[in-house]
């Protein structure tokens, strides 16, 4: 009887597997094939729109490419900024919503989520207008209140251009992480929170000692999304600064675009893209190790 049901299971499984073949092929075609093509290109030099094999030379070139490392530095800046300005506020708002202290209204929750449904390009161009030196909202307000000395060249000053780019990122994606955290929060048994409140853990103590540990997995997911999103960022930089002034706001995605298209060097541009993938995988690996270490301590 057991053997019979096992055989039946295998037959059914094979049938189901057949139907999964199509999505698997789709995945191979859309994700894996372009990746392999990019890796092949990265082993070539592009000369006069023609690929010429040069092995790992492009990757060796990356090691001494100052612009690559500057771009990576900017990506890391975005990553840290995103964690501080997206995840932390998202967590705080999530706690406020789920504990019912404030933002109980569904409308208010929708307002937080609304920015992330707007196209990144549209958001970027809107903020570019707001940052305008003459007519932008920020400098105009500063002039109106008599604080002309605090006016900035928001997108022209290399010292603050990265912060200027990160602010709309924070504005746009707080809601996205908030939704994920809320769904994670909904999986926590309400009785645990009630018991914690009875025991006197309220407010900050409940958030830090009860909610945060219970949401470890969800938080690691949002951190992963934030980190990988920061490495592959492109739209906002393209729209607001184009990587400028100079290379001050250049990021890896933008650099890959400039090299591949503006310089028509697909080989080296692909090498930069593959390097982005490697860096993302390394960061994910590091985060996994940290998560395991934290779990072990628990």
């Amino acid at each position: 009887m057991e053997n019979g049901s096992s055989i039946l299971y295998q037959i059914k499984f094979r049938k189901v597997l057949f139907y999964f073949l199509i999505p698997i092929l789709l995945y191979l075609f859309i994700v894996i094939l372009p990746l392999c093509t990019a890796f092949y290109y990265s082993l070539n030099m592009t000369t006069n729109f023609t690929l010429v094999w040069n092995g790992l030379d492009n990757y060796v070139k990356i090691l001494s490419d100052d612009i690559f490392w500057l771009s990576l530095k900017n990506n890391i800046f975005i990553m840290i900024f995103a964690i501080i300005t997206q995840l932390v506020p998202a967590f705080i708002i999530m706690v406020m919503i789920s504990t019912g202290y404030v933002f109980k209204s569904k409308f208010v929750q929708s307002v937080f989520f609304f920015p992330c449904v707007i196209s990144a390009i549209v958001v970027s161009y809107l903020w570019q207008i707001m940052y305008d030196n003459q007519t932008g909202v920020f400098n105009t307000l500063l002039r109106l209140v008599g604080l002309e000395s605090l006016q900035q060249n928001w997108l022209a000053d290399p010292k603050i251009v990265m912060t200027s780019i990160c602010i709309p990122l924070a504005w746009q994606f707080i809601g996205y992480y908030l939704v994920i955290l809320l769904s994670g929060m909904s999986a926590i048994d309400k009785e645990i929170l009630e018991v914690a409140e009875i025991d006197g853990a309220t407010g900050l103590k409940k958030s830090v000692y009860i909610i945060l540990p219970l949401m470890k997995n969800t938080i690691s997911v949002v951190m992963l999304l934030s980190v990988t999103g920061s490495i592959k960022i492109f739209d906002q930089v393209f729209a607001m600064t184009g990587g400028g002034p100079g290379y001050a706001s250049n990021v890896l995605g933008m650099y890959s675009y400039i090299v591949s298209f503006k310089q028509a060097n697909y080989g080296y541009g692909s090498a930069i893209s593959i390097s982005m993938l490697i860096i993302s995988l390394l960061l994910i690996g590091v985060m996994s190790l940290i998560k395991k270490a934290v779990s072990r301590n628990d």
Binding site: K15, F29, N48, F49, N133, L155
Partner: protein
């Protein structure tokens, strides 16, 4: 169970269909590059796809390029399919992607910066015989225009427009207020004008350099002519080792621009605003005394200018900088085509003939007449243009034409001889100098390093 199988089967079919459709998607018009694939084997109509930057919505009422080529195609049994792209997208991504994929259409516009790479990549049809056979057509062009499209004595492109890159548009009222009738021809006096404008609360020179090319094209290039000399310009564009970017003369070009910036003569946000509308805003609001541009700036400047400001618009050549080479006199321009019509190397004879016919239509009398009437400089000599409606010519065009005709010399825009990689590094390093992240000496070194790499493949 049966229903589940049916549902799963249908879903699988839908997915398979989606995958098939997505792989076959894309513009079928842009796929015709292989030999006779697009030719009607019946032998009558020739099918051509033309990739261009003529987006009808952006052309306003200046759709004559499209009208003329469509009419030519209709009259000459050509089935022409126009593939329009935004100019910036086309130059930065579309053309290069098509070229890399060896998937260019039968006829297309090409930027001069991509000419050399395309010729060396074997992508362009040799058009020399067409010009040799039709001498009347060849002789109708302004002298020297084919320099940008000629390699090893073979011609690979037909210029269809003529632009000059450097001039200074100014507000006559503001200059008059400061005691000037026009922009001074020599640098010392020009700097005095800038200082007076700054002290009077104006921005001396407005420019939007977010894209990088305006500062180089509208200023650095002409300074190269003055300070480095035409021989240096020609040598550097030929990727020879007879000129280098770490030459003190080129460093003086970068230093001159840095000096203007350090003195506060540019708008503070120059590197973050574009040169389409944002820099013009300073000019239209009469906050800026001058704005840099080329001959191509004129039409848009006049069209978008507030009506009350139009009478006070003026144009002058870029001033001659201190330290300029003696033989290079004040008032010169650099000019050239910038964009050409090219034909796919894989075309059949019939397709090439038809494509050249379209190129002739774009460089003919009717096209030139329209150019003149909208304020553009035609590629053919004025005596070949014939009659045109002078009342349609925009304000300032006569002034511009006079300046060009009185120019002591007109040399080829040197950036057109550079490849895309060189142009990119030149633009970026200039921006870095403006924001204080590098010095002219270091920038010159960095540019030279890229140039030496490019020389290995571009010679």
């Amino acid at each position: 169970m049966k229903n589940l199988k049916l549902t799963a089967g249908l879903l699988a079919l839908v997915l398979a269909g989606t995958m098939t459709l997505s792989s076959c998607g894309g513009n079928s018009n842009a796929a015709g590059s292989a030999g006779g694939d697009n030719e009607n084997n019946g032998g009558e109509k020739v099918k051509l796809t033309f990739a261009c930057t003529w987006v009808e919505e952006e052309m306003r009422d200046q759709t004559y390029p499209l009208d003329i080529v469509n009419k030519y195609a209709q009259d000459n049994n050509i089935e022409l399919s126009i593939d329009p792209y935004n100019s910036s997208d086309y130059q930065n991504t579309v053309f290069k992607t098509m070229a890399a994929a060896k998937n260019l259409p039968e006829i297309f516009l090409i930027n001069s910066m991509d000419m050399k790479s395309s010729v060396k990549g074997g992508l362009l049809y040799d058009l020399t015989s067409y010009l040799d056979e039709d001498t009347a057509w060849a002789d109708s062009f302004l002298p020297g225009l084919f320099v940008e499209t000629t390699f090893d004595d073979k011609i690979y492109g037909v210029p269809y427009q003529f632009i000059t890159n450097e001039c200074v548009y100014f507000n006559k009222n503001i200059l008059s207020e400061l005691g000037y009738e026009t922009v001074p021809a020599e640098w010392a006096e020009f700097l005095e004008l800038c200082e007076k404008a700054k002290n009077a609360g104006y921005i001396p020179i407005a420019l939007g350099d977010k894209d990088g090319w305006p500062l180089y094209s509208n200023l650095a290039e002409i300074l190269c002519e003055y300070l480095c000399g035409p021989e240096w310009v020609a040598a550097i564009g030929g990727y020879t080792d007879q000129a280098s970017y770490d030459d003190p003369k080129f460093i003086s070009v970068l230093t001159t621009i840095k000096d203007l910036n350090d003195k506060g003569y540019f708008n503070e946000d120059m590197v973050s605003i574009d040169n389409n509308t944002q820099d013009k805003a300073y000019f239209y609001n009469e906050k800026a005394a001058m704005i840099l541009g080329g001959s191509y700036t004129l039409t848009g400047l006049v069209t978008d200018c507030p009506e009350e400001l139009i009478p006070s618009l003026g144009v002058a050549p870029t001033p001659r900088p201190a330290g300029a080479i003696d033989s290079v006199k004040a008032g010169i321009f650099t000019g050239g085509s910038g964009w050409e019509v090219a034909v796919n190397a894989e075309n059949t004879q019939k397709q090439a003939d038809a494509a050249v016919g379209i190129a002739k239509a774009m460089t003919g009398q009717e096209y030139a007449r329209n150019d003149v009437e909208v304020g553009r400089i035609p590629v053919i000599k004025m005596e070949n243009v014939g009659e045109y409606d002078a009342s349609k010519i925009p304000v300032l065009q006569d002034d511009m034409n006079k300046l060009i005709s009185q120019a002591p010399s007109m040399t080829l825009m040197n950036q057109q001889q550079s490849g895309a990689a060189m142009s990119e590094i030149l633009y970026k390093k200039l921006q870095e100098i403006i924001i204080g992240q590098t010095t002219p000496e270091q920038a010159a070194k960095d540019i030279q390093a890229v140039y030496e790499e490019e020389c290995k493949t571009m010679q």
